[in-house]
């Protein structure tokens, strides 16, 4: 995105040619690469979702055989979680955190380069995992992204590639997190205390810490899986004295905090967007930070609510239920803060703000269905049905993905120096939001009516809602072509953006990103800026 800019900027300009990107240690270039990678993955993951929905359009098997269906299902999740949301959030962190805290670059620029360039290899490995079963003639990765044994031990060579993909993605995330945490702790401009940081920086500080804590556990879990598959161990094989449920504990010890890894950066974006367009400081900045900390801490100790049905003891299950229900306190408080930031504000509704309002409503909905799912006896009915599918898409699409879209629209002027087309932005907002709701709202009902997850074919009794879901999913998918068009159009040109394109952006706890030009020069803050302390 800053390519065009760079060509005009010969003073302290960037290196020329492909080397600029391959060997880049510049946080803005690496951020751009992260964002482009995420955009490519968004379309890849989206394409697999479209194929899944096309298969589910009618009962009967029309286009995908069961193993290919479940393989695409697995890849859809892995691509969206590890390939799209996390790199997009990391891209925003790379771009914005040094600008916000007044740092000249990330603390560890070469590590930054490594953590990005691991990603394309992981992506390639994931694609190989899909093709390999057909070359070697064995079973595809048909487990879903949870990779539960014994099914994952049964699967063919594709599973080994998937395991290595997870390893590489894990290394990339851990390195990126270490870098971001180090940057935030050490590189803040003089005078910028922890409680002067924009909420986005706080969100990423906690996200980074979470990732550093939980990613190694996943890596360990999948490594044990690899050993079970090839080296005769029996960690997860009951016949050899192992325990299939152990893997589920290891996976979800990572997997539940991962939900907050996806969510927190978007909460950070909301923490900037809502005050900006309400023209009024964040309602309760400090308690909001504390509730993010509480969320992080609670999120680490409630993982087993993903596996209520495995037969844990009554006491243990009750503990996980109470812990999970308590999560509604910090999350409820966050949403409350955003609503009361709008309250008595002076609101305008540019695209980022529209997304923010929609997120508050739809994420609240995911929250209340989350409490329904947290209640153990009821979950024994909901578990592994489309009700769960609907719930977590409501949590992750508004909670994570729409938050990132809000971020993209909020910062596009800063990144490119051009305003995006507001009218197209608004069309994109309404198109995605309506089609998203029409896709996933009906799935609550098909789940309650008894439709299990991860099935390639279903009974005629589930037909109507699946039909609605599929048609809306196609509209939802298609809306992203408009998204792509808006981004390209904004990079190419458009109305010039000022240094501070949003007039409310300086209110509350703004970062220093608005003190540099739009787009920023290749190198920023070579001299530490002075920060005036805010109360």
């Amino acid at each position: 995105m800053s390519t065009e800019v760079a060509h005009d900027d010969h003073h302290h300009g960037p290196p020329k040619g492909i080397g600029r990107w391959l060997f880049s240690t510049n946080h803005k270039d690496i951020g751009t690469m992260y964002l482009i990678f995420a955009l490519v993955m968004l379309f890849l993951g989206g394409a697999s979702a479209m194929m899944l929905r096309a298969e589910l359009l009618y009962p009967g098997v029309q286009i995908l055989d069961p193993d290919l269906y479940n393989n695409l299902l697995t890849n859809h999740a892995l691509i969206m979680v590890f390939g799209m949301v996390m790199p997009a959030a990391a891209g925003m962190a790379n771009w914005m955190i040094p600008l916000m805290i007044g740092a000249p670059d990330m603390a560890l620029p070469r590590l930054n380069n490594l953590s990005f360039w691991l990603l394309p290899f992981a992506g390639t490995m994931l694609i190989i995992s899909m093709i390999a079963p057909y070359i070697f003639g064995d079973t595809p990765v048909n487990t879903g992204w949870t990779l539960y044994p014994p099914l994952s031990v049964q699967a063919g060579i594709g599973m080994d590639f998937t395991i290595f993909t997870v390893h590489i993605l894990g290394i990339s995330s851990i390195l990126a997190s270490i870098n971001i945490v180090t940057t935030i702790v050490n590189m803040r401009a003089p005078g910028m205390g922890y409680f002067n940081m924009p909420l986005f920086v706080w969100a990423w500080l906690l996200t980074g810490l979470l990732l550093i804590m939980v990613m190694p556990v996943l890596a360990g879990g999948v490594t044990m899986l690899l050993f079970d598959r090839h080296f005769g161990t029996a960690f997860f094989d009951a016949a050899g004295g192992g325990d299939p449920v152990l893997f589920q504990h290891l996976f979800w010890f990572f997997g539940h905090p991962e939900v907050y890894v996806l969510l927190l950066p978007s909460i950070g974006v909301l923490g900037l967007v809502v005050p900006t367009f309400s023209r009024k400081p964040l309602f309760a900045y400090k308690p909001l930070v504390y509730s993010m900390m509480l969320l992080t801490a609670l999120g680490m100790v409630v993982w087993a609510h993903h596996q209520y049905t495995v037969g844990m003891s009554e006491a243990v299950t009750t503990y996980f239920m109470i812990g999970t229900i308590l999560i509604s306190i910090p999350v409820g408080y966050m949403l409350f803060s955003f609503i009361f930031t709008m309250w008595r504000g002076s609101m305008t509704f540019e695209t980022p703000m529209l997304f923010a309002v929609a997120i508050v409503l739809m994420f609240s909905f995911a929250g209340v269905t989350g409490v329904m799912l947290a209640v153990v006896p009821a979950d024994l009915q909901y578990h592994d049905t489309y009700f769960v599918v609907a719930h977590f898409h409501y949590a992750l699409i508004p909670g994570a993905v729409f938050g990132l879209y809000a971020g993209v629209f909020y910062w596009l002027p800063k990144w490119t120096g051009h305003m995006y087309d507001e009218k197209l932005g608004k069309i994109f907002f309404w198109w995605t939001t309506i089609s998203f709701n029409l896709t996933f709202f009906p799935q609550h009902f098909s789940g309650l009516a008894g439709m299990p997850r991860r099935i390639v074919d279903y009974s005629a009794i589930f037909m109507e809602f699946n039909f609605i879901s599929s048609i809306s999913a196609f509209a939802f998918g298609a809306s992203h072509l408009l998204f792509l068009y808006i981004i390209i159009k904004t990079i190419k040109g458009g109305e010039k953006a000022g240094d501070m394109p949003w007039d409310g952006a300086q209110i509350g706890t703004p970062g220093l990103e608005w003190t540099v030009s739009s787009p920023p020069p290749f190198h920023t803050f070579e001299q530490p800026p002075a920060v005036i302390k805010q109360s």
Binding site: Y58, P59, V61, P66, D67, N142, G144, Y148, P150, L151, Q154, G156, A238, V245, S278, K280, L282, F283, A284, Y285, Y290, T309, V310, G311, I322, I325, G332, L335, I339, F340, T341, M342, W343, R344, G345, S346, M347, T348, V360, L361, S364, F365, V368, V371, M372, V375, P377, A378, L380, Q381, D384, F445, L448, A449, G450, P452, I455, D457, I461, M463
Partner: protein
């Protein structure tokens, strides 16, 4: 593959009937519960659903009011000191207290229901449910009866019971306390019949317990809920709840049949090829069809074809060995020595060696299988 045969072109007319069938039966909520546990769960579900609805209405109303009232286009000036008003100062206490109150009242009700869920003591009948790729095996522990239940593949895609019907439904009596024991032989499965049996996963090496008292006669349907691979969509569950008398006579009938089968299997009779073929087909369709498929075409690569297969058309001894003792190379092919008697194994081997154009002409007698045990 698995699907090839059922792949049907859906004509416009077919779709129209599909849609009209679906309207009649389409559920919007959990099915009507017929057991005390599922009823308690249902009430809990409705409680949380109502709480959720009320909360959503309040949030939506507040947000919509704020959006309308505090617009810049309506000339509203932002109140820059709102967050330091008394409300702003104390909200961090008030909000968590309110949320905690709602949480605890839900959790209180939930723990009570959960104790009921977990109390599977003093059963009248114990039914062991074993999930395998991709069929259910039911052992009536008190009467020593075994049922194997497979997908009924003859239901057309336009029917409401498509993928929801089986060859051998589970027969259970009403008004008896039934304990279900869940386990699996290969990968994870979950036995789920929403009206009467909530989920506990079937896990190899574990035995999980659920229970029910079915209060109404009828047919209850469900599906495997935990992803178990290629055939996950194809392992439905059908429970037929009958009166206690009917159940007693069904049990007696099953026992008599079993005794007859045992007598036959242990007799020294030399069976003719036709007799063995007929019985073999039955055994095959119950036990082998899920993986090796109805025409012996298998689901390669994981589940090899038996039609013109190297073992089914190779030496007889090798074929008997893999059926009796299982495969050493591929653990998914289990040993059948405990699950089938000698006659059943002899019949199914004979069938596999002569069906689908394998035509080896070999006839395997129960004595041959006995020798290989």
């Amino acid at each position: 593959m698995l699907i090839g045969k059922r792949l049907k072109f859906l004509s416009a007319a077919g779709l129209a009937t599909l849609a009209s069938n679906a309207v009649a039966e389409y559920g919007l909520n959990l099915p009507e519960p017929v057991s005390p546990v599922t009823r308690d769960i249902f009430d809990l579900h409705m409680l949380t659903a109502y709480v959720a609805t009320v909360i959503m209405i309040i949030i939506t109303a507040v947000v919509v009011y704020a959006l309308w009232k505090f617009r810049k286009s309506a000339g509203y000036e932002a109140d820059q000191n709102f967050h330091v008003s008394w409300f702003g100062k104390w909200a961090w206490v008030m909000v968590p207290v309110v949320v905690l109150g709602i949480d605890l009242s839900i959790a209180g009700k939930a723990t009570k229901t959960f104790s009921l869920v977990e109390d599977s003591s003093d059963p009248d009948i114990t039914l062991k449910v074993t999930g395998s790729q991709w069929k259910w095996t039911y052992d009536y522990m008190d009467d020593d009866i075994r049922l194997v239940s497979n997908l009924n593949k003859d239901i057309p895609v336009t029917d409401n019971n498509y993928l929801r019907d089986v060859d051998n439904p589970v027969i259970l009596p009403v008004n008896k306390r039934i304990r279900f024991l869940h386990t699996a032989t290969d990968v994870l499965h979950a036995w789920w019949v929403p009206a009467l049996a909530y989920k506990k996963d079937s896990i190899p090496g574990y035995i999980n317990e659920t229970w029910a008292i079915i209060e109404k006669e009828g047919t209850y349907r469900g599906q495997c809920a935990e992803n178990c691979g290629t055939g996950h969509a194809y392992m439905p569950i059908v429970v037929k709840a009958v009166s206690e008398d009917k159940y007693a006579s069904w049990v007696a009938e099953q026992k008599a049949e079993k005794a007859k089968a045992m007598a036959e299997a242990t007799s020294d009779k030399a069976w003719t090829k036709d007799e063995l073929m007929e019985r073999g087909k039955k055994v095959y369709m119950t036990n082998c069809v899920a993986c090796h498929q109805s025409e012996g075409q298998g689901l390669p690569p994981a589940f090899p074809a038996l039609k013109a297969g190297p073992i089914t058309t190779g030496p007889v001894a090798g074929h008997i060995d893999i059926v009796v003792n299982g495969s050493k190379k591929n653990p998914v092919m289990v040993a059948w020595a405990n699950a089938l008697n000698d006659l059943e194994m002899a019949a199914v081997i004979t069938y596999e060696r002569n069906a689908w154009g394998n035509d080896t002409g070999d006839v395997v007698q129960p004595a041959d299988v006995k020798a290989a045990r």
